[in-house]
């Protein structure tokens, strides 16, 4: 019976956690309204959340695009359709890999940093100190970080896709000698602005929202100790990655249904 009670206990803890995160969210969203008066706070966070993630996104996007160039070529060449390589790479990137891989990188680079930073501020009583100085930490600390995550993520995903397309071009045209013109032209015939591009942007918006939410929640509710902060950071990366992949499946299924 021991494992049964442990299972039940685990489920109860998970549900409690989810409930707390749900209660936490409206307060954060309401607090973002104060950022109209303090844009400087948001800019600061856009720097540490967005700009600092650009490098890893660009490098990863380039490699993924180059990999897609090779893989797409070897699949398509059997059907004599290697001139559609651009289309294949573009669809892969804009529909799936751009939003999903960027969200995973974002969770690892920016999400973990957010959780650790907020958790440490809590552990060192900085958040309490703000409350005592009549400053709401939700507005001053949490809201700008959350909003910066929501804004930065779609931009990073678009950047990833663009760099990936360039990577595919390098391999397709530079290494495999596909015609450069047909690489770009084939995209335009097969990529739909609404189904593919807009669908990808919606995905990246949702991912940004969820990853930022998880990151600030875990930080704000971290146990006030070194071990607690490190546990919260790990939880952010694991939960965010699973949430992104699960949501990606759900959204793909919904968007697929509509076509």
């Amino acid at each position: 019976m021991n494992w049964l009670s442990r299972l039940g206990g685990g489920v109860i803890t998970a549900v409690q956690h989810l409930g707390r995160a749900g209660v936490f969210l409206p307060g954060v969203i309401a607090a973002t309204s104060m950022l109209w008066r303090r844009p400087g706070l948001l800019i600061q966070q856009l720097y540490s959340v967005g700009v600092m993630t650009v490098l890893i996104v660009v490098v990863a996007g380039l490699f993924v695009g180059m990999m897609l160039g090779f893989q797409g070529y070897y699949t398509l060449v059997d059907f004599g359709a290697e001139s559609s390589l651009g289309l294949a790479v573009a669809l892969f990137l804009t529909r799936e890999l751009g939003p999903v891989l960027t969200a995973l990188l974002f969770a690892g680079r920016a999400g973990s940093a957010l959780t650790a930073e907020i958790g440490l501020m809590k552990a060192t009583q900085q958040l309490e100190a703000m409350e005592m100085m009549a400053v709401d930490p939700l507005g001053r600390v949490i809201a700008p970080r959350f909003l910066a995550g929501c804004i930065a993520m779609p931009l990073l995903a678009a950047l990833f896709s663009v760099v990936g397309l360039a990577g595919g071009y390098l391999v397709g045209v530079g290494v495999l000698n596909i015609d450069g013109g047909s690489y770009w032209a084939s995209m335009q015939t097969g990529v739909d602005v609404y189904d593919d591009i807009l669908g990808g942007i919606i995905k990246s918006l949702v991912f940004g929202f969820v990853v930022a939410w998880i990151a600030v929640f875990e930080g704000y509710h971290a146990e006030s100790s070194t071990a607690g902060v490190s546990r919260a950071t790990t939880r952010t990366v694991v939960t965010a990655a699973l949430a992104v992949l699960g949501l990606d499946y759900a959204m793909t299924a919904i968007m697929f249904d509509e076509v």
């Binding site: 856009l46 967005g50 663009v162």
Partner: protein, 154 residues
């Protein structure tokens, strides 16, 4: 890092990100913001082969529009396609002909327009009368085989 430098890099980041999105929409998705500046004409074909919606419509090799829809004419069982053409090219003569062509031997199919000599121009809702259907490879090969056989018989 000074405040100014941070603000500048953040501005740059936002700019590049938004530019990447717009570039994806325009260049990859081939989105034209001014869709209202198009006019539509129809054309009937006996066979459209592998033509698909959104295939380019070209004039002298230059893309001036795309295929908006593909359907069947219930009266004579021919294929009826609607072409969406940029308003900038509103001076196509009424006796313009349309042909379904293939880019390369196995490439994607598109609609090629060949302007006529009439003084009046095609307008929204008009129909292109002179059309040339797609070349279906199987038919072509069949014809070649028959001809070869006939030559050998002789």
């Amino acid at each position: 890092m000074t405040r100014k430098a941070i603000e500048t890099t953040v501005g740059l980041f936002l700019l590049i990100g938004v530019a990447a999105m717009i570039w994806l929409a325009l260049k990859v998705g081939n989105w034209s913001p001014a869709t209202t500046h198009d006019y539509e004409v129809t054309a009937r074909f006996d066979n459209i082969g592998g033509l698909t919606v959104k295939a380019p419509v070209t004039l002298a090799g230059v893309t001036i529009g795309r295929v908006a829809s593909i359907g069947i004419d219930a009266d004579d069982y021919s294929a009826r396609i609607t072409l969406q053409i940029d308003q900038a090219h509103d001076n196509l003569p009424t006796d313009t002909s349309a042909a379904i062509l293939t880019s390369g031997l196995l490439g994607a199919q598109y609609v090629g327009l060949d302007p006529g000599a009439e003084e009046t121009y095609l307008e929204d809702g008009d129909r292109i009368e002179i059309t040339q259907s797609a070349v279906v490879l199987e038919h072509l090969i069949g014809q070649i085989l028959i001809r070869t056989a006939e030559e050998q018989d002789r």
